[in-house]
Symmetry: C2
Subunit: 344 residues, 2 copies
DNA sequence: GTGAAAGCGCTAACAT
DNA sequence: ATGTTAGCGCTTTCAC
């Protein structure tokens, strides 16, 4: 596919009757090169259609100006906002983003990480797959001292910075809100407890229940893949319980909405009969009826902060003591969980 | 940041008492190397923590196994499914994806394209920004014969393959459906006519109106950025018209839903008073009430086909005559546009 | 200020 | 089947 030969700094040097090293220096604004000459070099470079060869440059310099990103899935609203935020920051700082997805498989994750390592990314931005059990596949990065940042779905590691929200608190707040509305028999629909995001939300839920002396039965916790379909199935399970739970706190909006939709089909009124709270503040949650109460989750900011922190680490501008960055979340109260007249 | 020296094929060669070229050949499964030796090489490589240096390899080979992607925005459901599809295919074929977004600005698009060119991507996957007026910023790619594929928001170009759906037909079908339901005063909310996706949908709409001898007034076409907010504004404009239109065909689901929501707030019944059709089949459209009639749009497949075609082109396996790939869409009829008893 | 020259690590022609 | 060797294009001492 590649045809014509590329213009190199040697070609420019020849055309100008100077040496390649001077061209190299001139092109990157080295102070030793006379301004006059610099201009000529730039001029000639443009004229000849010069394109710098990053491989050769990288080969010498040992860095790539590339950040690796690996996430469970690309096709969720939350993840796309995160990545959008990362792209903004990376781009402005002169970094490229190489993106891959694990599709929730630990194996695919390991393979992706390996590829990114071979691609010699300067740093890594990671949100773990639901199946990941340990961090051994990151060892090459740790050994080489290449910075790794975990965001959202993290794993505690002394060498890594984590960017998260306080999922425990969010889970606690969501549940407390339901309790304050008079709901008592509250069920939690969550994801794999291997992942901090889901275990924290779950324990937050439990704590809130306990603090209010509400019982948590063994049927009160359903673990799903948090897909819409998973939510439909969970709803079917719940509909067989008697008594029916009077509220559901789901660890994401998709499953919350699936449950809401199935319950309504079954003639259950939301929020009068059953209250529902989701998680993520997906745009769906504000247009659906009734509006879904949910936890707002700063995706774009999470992406921006993760990327900018990573870049600082790469440049050695980051203090080593930094370990965790916690972003603030907020409970967005809509109609799906409000029994009383008060409304927002 | 980079500390310890990397292990090279020379180190492996030394350790094994053989030459670097044999190691190189062994590592990539060259048939000339004895199986026995191959095993030793792999074994040693793993033992020493060898990591292949892609720069050096690329520098020699002149290709990068990297595909550049540039899209208007990353944070839409449609785009994230497209990219997810691309990532699947690229990854399986051993390609990396470098992704950047133009944020609908022609200037940012040009800058992104330039960076991708310098990064020496082997090929380009592009969906144009709404502001792009010509293709001059792609010239470096065309000149060098690097394959470019346009998907969704395309620009006709003899050297490029385009992957699209038939937006004209989709617009025609959406509008015809509304007409068949008895709606007559149908308004279209669309995007920039510079982009095929929006102009085609618009002309499809017009043609359907014309074929049914329905008038298209000058107020019948509102151009917005197709955001939710844009939809809210469009709704405000429409609410001032008298008579009120009795149906809206919007070029995406976000604005359709915004209009639906605003109209309902104003006491207008959907679909009895006003019928609404969107575009994209965003997951929202099936959970909202009433369900939104919309055009299903195969995002993931569009991504997969674009990527696999690009890879074929890079490898020279693609026939040159190929110019456009049209994927099929379908009209998903839900409640928002159905006046009669028939329902799906 | 500018030039000469030695690599960076890998690959591929050529030799054996 | 394996080794030798000459670059790929750039950066970076070290001279001058």
């Amino acid at each position: 596919m590649k045809t014509e030969k590329d213009v190199t700094i040697y070609d420019i040097a020849n055309a100008l009757g100077i040496s390649a090293s001077t061209v190299s220096r001139g092109l990157k604004g080295h102070p030793y090169v006379k301004n006059e000459l610099k201009k000529q070099i730039f001029q000639k470079a443009r004229e000849m259609g010069y394109q710098q060869n990053k491989f050769a440059s990288n080969l010498r310099q040992k860095y790539t100006s590339t950040l690796g990103v690996i996430v469970p899935r690309l096709d969720s609203y939350f993840m796309s906002t995160v990545i959008s935020g990362m792209e903004n920051v990376a781009n402005q700082a002169g970094y490229n983003l190489i993106i891959s997805q694990s599709l929730e498989s630990a194996k695919k994750e390991a393979a992706g990480i390996f590829t990114l390592f071979n691609t010699r990314v300067d740093g890594l931005l990671v949100s773990l797959s639901s199946g990941t059990e340990d961090l051994t596949h990151f060892d090459p990065f740790f050994k080489k001292g290449i910075p790794v940042i975990f965001f959202d779905r993290i794993f505690e590691h002394s060498q890594c910075v984590s960017v998260i929200i306080n999922n425990y608190k969010a889970g606690y707040e969501a549940t407390s809100h339901l309790i304050s509305q008079g709901y008592k028999n509250i069920v939690h629909i969550g994801g794999s407890l291997l992942r901090n995001v889901y275990s924290d939300r779950y324990y937050g839920y439990r704590q809130a229940m306990e603090d209010n002396r509400l019982p948590v039965g063994e049927n009160s916790h359903i673990i799903t893949d948090l897909s819409f379909t998973g939510g439909v199935q969970a709803a079917a399970t719940l509909l067989q319980q008697s008594p029916l739970p009077d509220a559901v706190f789901a660890a994401n909006d998709s499953s919350a909405i699936a449950v809401m939709s199935e319950f309504r089909k079954a003639g259950i009124r939301i929020p009068q009969d059953v209250g529902i709270v989701g998680f993520n503040d997906d745009p769906v949650s504000r247009v659906i009826e009734p509006g879904l109460t949910t936890i707002h989750y700063p995706g774009k900011e999470m992406g921006e902060i993760s990327a900018s922190t990573l870049i600082k680490m790469i440049k050695g501008e980051q203090q080593d003591v930094l370990n965790t960055i916690v972003l603030s979340h907020s409970l967005i109260i809509r109609q799906s969980s409000v029994k009383t007249r008060s409304n927002i």
